[in-house]
Symmetry: C2
Subunit: 475 residues, 2 copies
């Protein structure tokens, strides 16, 4: 009753490298104009070549959320590899005089040669968690700001919502089918992010092709209406797709629909789908109807504006899988994360890396590069620990994090380091990209969520379930 494919036509696609399509074009112009004009000004006065550290983090979780889920990291890395200014981009920038010739020349030779560390994709995060840390010259790092944030903010919003849904569904599979409620390319990313957060598959074919995701589907009301009557539609579907298919039974009357479905397909019918009405009541009635007819193996899948709360409310109904659309691709009320890409340290005139932070009202940032670890006691996360200070001290702490540094009252448990290398001197670590990256991210999410404190998976509004402590290590 709870196999990942319960009630859906499924197809586990082979893992393969992500293919953005033949010559899918450079992502370099998916960028705010000011990144390029700042570059022009910085090239002119030489500061463009100062070494810099940018951190990506969010100041707060969406209201009521207890944790967030990092997603999109693999996509960011794939985009960094493709981030080049080719002739079409350079010609347009030149024709439009967006930047001067010296800047065009720099862009023509651009490739990212810096380094990136970050939370592994799928990891949970909290306010201030430095989920990505980009090191390089100002020029090379600033150009990645817009694209990096676009990917992480959208994908993490989806994964953060999706995790609540898979949590509410316990061991019943959730299937992503919201492509039509999102921008056509966002739908592909949403499918991927949902799978990172535990979804079993997606209706989106391109997501199947690009990331090796399981693709699923049933049929629409239009298919029934196309035919002269419901029996003809069911017969056509069973003839083409076999009795293991899922028949949509609510075009006219659900119980007559179930009768007709069994008459056509027999008691070996794979599943029926309910897409309207009081799903909990209907599921009980249809389960009884199916069982009475001997179709005890026929599963019930439900769809229709489900979100994490609706899924939780159906926990006691005899439902075998959930198809989720709008709410997952729009982040269930939080359609973007508030992640920002902030300069936290830069090389000064003296050649040394120095912490920097703005002082704007209500938007203060903490300067300096930070290490991050999660303190875990008896297998449960109790604290997110961020440490700043002299770079060498931070590096030493990250290499061998010692809970004792937190003081005698917080020395229990162990510190799990959170930053993993993603890009080293311009070379992307292929473990995190493509279909393999999605599998790794889903595993990381499963483990990270299991480690959260009891109660973290409650859907009711509350604070972040793990507090964050920021320490400055003594010099």
């Amino acid at each position: 009753m709870t196999t990942p494919s319960a009630g859906w036509t499924t197809d586990r696609t082979a893992g393969s490298a992500p293919d953005p399509g033949p010559g899918a074009g450079s992502p370099a112009l998916l960028t705010d104009r000011y990144e390029l004009t700042m570059l022009q000004a910085a090239l002119r006065d030489g500061t463009a070549h100062r070494r810099c550290v940018f951190e990506v983090f969010t100041r707060r979780l969406p209201p009521g959320r207890r944790y967030g889920v990092v997603a999109g990291t693999g996509r960011v890395l794939e985009e960094i590899e493709r981030f080049r200014f080719g002739t079409p981009e350079l010609d347009w920038l030149s024709d439009e005089r967006v930047v001067d010739d010296a800047t065009l020349e720099y862009l023509a030779g651009y490739r990212f040669t810096g380094s990136v560390v970050g939370y592994a994709e799928g990891e949970t995060f909290f306010p201030s968690s430095p989920v990505l840390v980009v090191s390089g010259t100002f020029a090379e790092a600033v150009l990645l700001e817009t694209l990096t944030l676009s990917v992480l903010n959208y994908d993490s919003a989806v994964a953060s919502a999706a995790s609540r849904m898979t949590s509410a569904a316990v061991d019943r599979p959730c299937l992503e089918m919201g492509s039509r409620r999102a921008h056509e390319h966002a739908g592909v990313a949403a499918a991927r992010a949902a799978v990172v957060a535990g979804f079993a598959g997606t209706s989106n074919l391109e997501a199947g092709r690009r990331y090796g995701l399981t693709t699923i589907g049933t049929a629409a009301h239009a298919f029934t209406l196309l035919h002269d009557d419901e029996e003809a539609a069911f017969a056509a579907q069973v003839a083409a797709l076999g009795t293991g298919t899922t028949l949509l039974v609510d075009t006219y009357d659900v119980h007559r629909g179930v009768e007709r479905a069994l008459a056509v397909a027999g008691t070996g019918l794979g599943a029926v789908r309910l897409d309207s009405g009081d799903l909990g009541v209907l599921a009980h009635e249809v389960r009884a109807q199916l069982d009475a007819a001997g179709a005890t193996g026929t599963r019930i899948t439900v769809t229709s504006d489900l979100d994490e709360h609706a899924i939780a409310a159906l926990a006691v109904a005899p439902v075998d899988s959930y198809g989720v659309g709008t709410s997952v691709v729009t982040g269930s009320g939080a359609p973007t994360c508030g992640m920002v890409y902030k300069l936290v340290a830069r090389e000064g005139a003296d050649g040394r890396l120095a912490p920097v932070a703005k002082a704007s009202a209500a938007k203060t940032s903490v300067g300096g590069r930070k290490g991050a670890a999660r303190r875990v006691v008896d297998g449960r996360a109790v604290e997110e620990v961020l440490v700043g200070g002299a770079d060498e001290r931070v590096a030493a702490w990250v290499a061998d994090p010692d809970p004792g540094a937190l003081g005698p009252d917080r020395g229990a448990g162990e510190l799990r380091p959170l930053h993993v290398p993603l890009v080293t001197d311009g070379v992307v670590d292929a473990r995190w990209t493509g279909a393999g990256g999605v599998v790794a991210a889903a595993e990381r999410h499963h483990a990270s969520r299991a480690e959260l404190p009891r109660g973290a998976r409650r859907l009711s509004a509350d604070e972040a379930c793990v507090p964050t402590t920021a320490l400055t290590l003594p010099a």
Copy 2:
């Protein structure tokens, strides 16, 4: 004080045909799996070739919204032209056994040969408005469902929110700068949709390149922090971009920032940007400071989580333009429209087109193809009129809509037809695509919104500002 480019580095790009990038790949797999498996079943029993009419409409507006704005129509048409199954797509579908060989053969030859009419892009809409009507065989029309809805649902959500913002801003320009808060490709579509709804420009370079939009930008806090001090940053920016540039003055202290900006750029400084704090209070203070220093022509632009309500609240502040990010690209609380793509008529076994509609609880649809017109009295819209009935009667009514048909009490005014031809026998009308399509859509939106009843532009929650009447013409 209110030129479209007030306070921003601007660049009106030349209009040009949309370029999705070299070999950007077919959009054919941006599609739900079930569209293809339904096709397989319908090809097998012959119903795939029945003539069909699908309508796109929404059952309701987002809570409190008084009207919606159709956007994305031009993008739908561009995608229809590119909707082909090439070798990469067919190979993947074959390898994964998504559909059988007969279906693959059909897909290999696929191109849309049907017709599409719809509301002109930029038009306002209400619940049940048939914003797009797709006619063709089941096979050719069903394949377009997912992609059509993805585009219209996202773009219309953005335009519907953006229209409230430009309405609240009255004659002060709104600039779109939310790319980093949306999926990287959604950001491009959001920029386009915002401009349809009256935004003056966007920070997104790809949107500038693809749709000829004005691109704008200032500088980020990182640019100031990169430098040894604020003066050095301002000097670098002015040296590179001229005194007409916009300086971001809130990295440290706003008033010191303004002092330094004027010291560096002189009173000919183009603008200052405020991105934090109480923007209304700060704008008054900064205006006084600028004026006292003689910089009476220096403009003030504000950013920082603005939405339509924040913009309205700033109406009395001396602000020259608004930079809007998160709220516009996420639809300001309504990140997707609930548009559906429903079969309303299909050829029966007798070869005649017959209306169809499902009877599911709470999701009933009205069958039959419908004409649409807006009744306008003294230049104000008073009623959305949808007419169904025999096709010939509907066609005759659409060709010459007569208010008298609505009954004696509603015979006043005139009926403005809402459907325009978009695709005729597979040929896309180029008026609606590319950069020219965006210009036309922005003009349509401006006129359509001006025609709404007084009070329609109130931001407070209320019902749709124009009621919808559905009539069935007598046979």
